[in-house]
Subunit: 184 residues, 2 copies
Amino acid sequence: MRADAQRNRARILDVARTVIEEQGTQASLRDIARRAEVGMGTLYRHFATREELLEALLGGRFDRLAAHAAALEASHPPAEALTEWLRAFAEGAATYRGLAASMIATLEDGRSSLHASCVAMRDAGGRLLARAQQAGRIRPDVDGTDLFALFSALASIADVAPSIGLRHEHLFDVVMEGLVSRAR
Amino acid sequence: MRADAQRNRARILDVARTVIEEQGTQASLRDIARRAEVGMGTLYRHFATREELLEALLGGRFDRLAAHAAALEASHPPAEALTEWLRAFAEGAATYRGLAASMIATLEDGRSSLHASCVAMRDAGGRLLARAQQAGRIRPDVDGTDLFALFSALASIADVAPSIGLRHEHLFDVVMEGLVSRAR
DNA sequence: ACCTGAACACCGTTCAAGT
DNA sequence: ACCTGAACACCGTTCAAGT
């Protein structure tokens, strides 16, 4: 990649992080290009879709989250590992306003650039889930997709109603208890 | 109201119902005006905000839902009344794509035209909840707002991922079990 | 190769002008 | 009283023209 291109790409990512932090995942791309002092075409050349931009911003974080699942599997007993991971997952889904909703949508949209990361995360969670189910600690009739949907939806509440978001830990606990009930 | 105004209002509501059914609560107001064969100003005169339009479309339904809570309180035992009502509530929140998210947001936005209906529904649910808690059937550390948020969030999953929406009843059951656990 | 910015087709919202 | 539709300030996306 040419040096100026590389510099532009970095500038865009840098500005995008700030703007999306301010305005959420639906932030104006025009605004990002403007503040990065770059033409619209340049933004589109580097990131053909909004999802590609989000992937560049979040891909690393998501990969680490999937890896974290494997680590927890080795270090913690089944139920604790799952709970701990779901907590980290919910935190990740809350990185930017609007992200949680995008993540659920992306799970069934194979064309989205976020699709791969989300499927990987769902599967990582699914493995922790299966382990906890085999240990009889989680009800057997839920799968990784259920988990992903439930906790993303939970995270999305804070996006749309910040004050209710303060109850997040509490609501997390309620849903968690729902998973525990009817185990075995 | 003048006869032509009344006719216009009815036309707008009629078309809005169709368009919002197609495109969700974020449907283009311009499109609604166009298909109702009405100037933009006319639409704005009758419904100054998008929320006012939604209120006109859904207010009746929400009022009935609040009334339904009182009826259930008289006819059913505490836990059954609550479960039954929450089922109806979730159905109402799923009337239009995007509505569930609007409802959570509106709960803490006093200026929204949907605010009154949503508060009324939350309180109606809150009364059924308190009754079930007094009967020792629901954990005591949740309130009406928690309930509203949890089940709206649940409904919003189907908005953004239709196929996961097919699991709605199942996820409903999981959350319900979470409410039951730690009762008394 | 890469960048720019105007062009196009859309929005929501307002408001002067009409009846 | 009420209606119309143009005007304004925004979008996202594309693409001819430049370096």
